[in-house]
């Protein structure tokens, strides 16, 4: 196995509030090798964005890493000083957020914003170099007439183009780790496809490890190598995309796959197989298996005993946390 660029082991994140602590992530382990794409999948409140922010050292006020380790290319980030993490952020690791209009500064030209990150991390020594490289980066992410667009302000660009600028900025310093948090969720499908192509191209060019945080299983099926399914702050299933999505073994993953409306489904109308109930909020996680109140297969054991993530089947690093894993799909 290739050496992991990102190696997170047993990560626990808590939210500290007036009346105590609430667990947000509970023992999440995940590693990504260079050139590999791993999708972190889950619904709102599962903790997937908090995982990404914890890695970037950007957890919001009140949240903190309570246990576990986060190693980036061998360097431990948990407990590292803010300046040390800042030096890596935007350089060795970078992140693309869902909403490009709130991630770009409205009052600065996009070229200058890209140039800033190049200068900050010492990739370009002079302003002229940085400007030239910014044009080059805009060309790489498929922005037409990059030498003119480099002087545009964010509001002069469409949502898809702004997201391309974000990708250009994220790959500016050839990061080893690239995190995309719902980076195409706000875009129209036609634009989404283009931006995913750009992201994939950027990753291939830089050989970065890519962490794709998303709720969209279609996107996962298209570009990820491995998938980690998160539910109520815990990993419930992981493995290669081909194995996990083609034959889910955790009832939650299976339920998600069945609930997605698809163009390829047979017939129209009819009842969509929905998962009953709703994802629990942090602080109100059920006992035992966190999924048991919504699970059709749950029995008494599931109510009291939390299943441990254990290797499953013959697949490559395939694992599932379930007392009654599904072995075949209908």
């Amino acid at each position: 196995m290739k050496e992991a660029v990102l190696d997170v082991v047993d990560l626990g994140v808590v939210w500290q509030h007036r009346r105590g602590e609430v667990a947000i992530l509970d023992g999440v382990s995940l590693s990504i090798a260079a050139g590999e794409t791993v999708a972190l999948v889950g619904e709102s409140g599962a903790g997937k964005s908090m995982f990404a922010l914890a890695v970037m050292g950007l957890l919001p006020d009140g949240m903190r890493v309570a246990r576990g380790t986060i190693a980036l290319d061998g360097d431990e980030l948990v407990g590292a000083t803010p300046p040390a993490i800042r030096a890596k952020r935007g350089g060795q690791m970078s992140m693309i957020f869902q909403d490009p209009s709130s991630s770009l500064h409205p009052a600065f030209r996009v070229g200058d914003q890209i140039a800033e990150t190049l200068r900050t991390h010492g990739t370009c020594a002079t302003k002229a170099d940085a400007r030239a490289r910014a044009v080059e980066l805009l060309r790489l992410v498929g922005i037409p007439q990059p030498d003119a667009r480099v002087r545009d302000y964010p509001h002069q660009l469409s949502g898809g183009m702004r997201q391309r600028v974000m990708i250009a900025m994220a790959i500016a310093n050839d990061p080893q780790l690239l995190i995309a948090d719902e980076a195409t969720t706000a875009l129209d499908v036609t634009v989404q496809a283009q931006v995913l192509d750009v992201l994939r191209g950027a990753q291939q060019r830089t050989g970065a490890a890519l962490l794709l945080v998303t709720h969209d299983l279609g996107v996962v099926a298209g570009i990820a190598d491995r998938v980690v399914v998160l539910y109520a702050g815990r990993v419930v299933e992981e493995g290669t995309v081909a194995e996990v999505l083609a034959a889910p073994s955790h009832p939650y993953t299976l339920g998600l796959m069945r609930a997605v409306p698809r163009l390829t489904a047979i017939g129209t109308g009819g009842v969509l197989p929905a998962i009953s109930g709703q994802p629990p909020n942090p602080g109100a996680w059920p006992s035992g298996c966190v999924f048991h109140p919504r699970c059709e297969l749950a029995d008494e054991r599931c109510e009291v005993e939390a299943p441990v993530l254990t290797p499953f089947g013959s697949g490559d690093r395939r694992a599932v946390a379930c007392h009654h894993p599904v072995t075949e799909t209908s």
């Binding site: 037409p144 969509l272 929905a274």
Partner: protein
């Protein structure tokens, strides 16, 4: 059968914020919805589908064209006509967080349309029934919006729309903000209610996979115009407009084998500005099949076969 809603040559132009430009939000579109039918209006952001939804409910005044509800033109917008329309046509918005007053108990919000109709006595009596209808506990009526999840709030929005027993509900991206597992629940609820109450839906969405699941008829909108309309089965089996084909080819599938074999039509360039739409066919700047004629001549929406109409010179 007479149509419940009939829209003819509907046009809405907005004055641009700066200069004397005109935003062509909706341009000369016509469609009809029969009682109990679901028509889906699909297209990318900015194509005018939400504006159309608001025009239909007289929340916006059209620049030109006619909107007839059960045969009566609502364009005159007399207070009396509007009062009647509000009883028979309602709307559910995308964002269930923004469509409830955070300081009002949800029970009061849900029956507000009844109160506005001057039916206060009925409002009290129907509240529990409405909560039960959308799968919520009537005891939750005294709670506030923040105590509900996104999916529950969308159920509340549906209950509110149904309070006046409308014939038509405009659903503007009703499940786009919801998680997959919740989205399926709400879609199933809408299907049940439709069957039970004989509702007609104008279902506005950008998601062709969701639309395939709910629609009888589909109208594809591009830059203010309808480019293809067809019974849903025909549209998905045999899309005729290049734009429809491109949209369908862009929908990802969660099955990795299907997804990796998917052949995608990549559209070049970006959606042109509705301030200055291209001459001739408005899709030509992104169309891989465009010929000279597309620049000079506007393709009319013409019926090809049994209700399948397309606006393309080459179809």
């Amino acid at each position: 059968m007479t149509a419940l809603l009939e829209v003819e040559h509907l046009t809405k132009h907005f004055a641009a914020r700066r200069g004397d430009g005109v935003v062509h939000a909706v341009d000369d579109i016509s469609f009809a919805i029969a009682p109990g039918e679901t028509l889906a209006l699909v297209g990318e952001s900015g194509c005018g589908k939400s504006t159309t939804g608001r025009l239909v409910l007289a929340l916006l005044a059209p620049t030109a064209g006619a909107i007839r509800f059960d045969g009566a033109d609502i364009a005159g917008r007399s207070p009396r006509a509007l009062h009647d329309l509000r009883r028979r046509a309602q709307i559910v918005f995308q964002d269930p967080y923004a469509s409830f007053d955070p300081r009002r108990r949800v029970g009061d919000s849900v029956v507000e349309p009844l109160v506005a109709q001057g039916r206060r006595a009925e409002a009290h009596a129907r509240r529990d029934e409405l909560f039960t209808m959308v799968g919520l506990d009537p005891a939750a009526a005294h709670r506030y919006p923040h105590e509900f999840s996104g999916g529950q709030r969308q159920r509340l929005a549906i209950a509110r729309a149904l309070s006046v027993q409308p014939d038509l509900v405009v659903l503007d991206e009703p499940v786009s903000a919801l998680d997959v597992s919740i989205q399926a629940q709400v879609l199933n609820l809408l299907a049940d209610l439709r069957k039970e109450l004989g509702l007609a839906f104008l279902f506005i969405s950008h998601d062709l996979a969701v639309v395939r699941h709910v629609a009888d008829h589909v109208a594809v909108m591009h830059l203010g115009e309808l480019v293809e309309t067809a019974p849903a089965v025909d549209l998905y089996a045999n899309p005729r407009h290049p734009y429809t084909r491109a949209l369908l080819s862009a929908v990802p599938d969660p099955d990795p084998a299907v997804e990796r074999a998917r052949r995608r039509i990549v559209l070049e360039g970006e959606l042109p500005s509705p301030l200055d739409p291209p001459s001739g066919c408005r899709f030509r700047t992104r169309c891989w099949q465009a010929v000279d004629r597309c620049t000079t001549e506007v393709p009319p929406l013409r019926d090809l076969a049994s209700g399948h109409a397309v606006a393309c010179h080459l179809a």
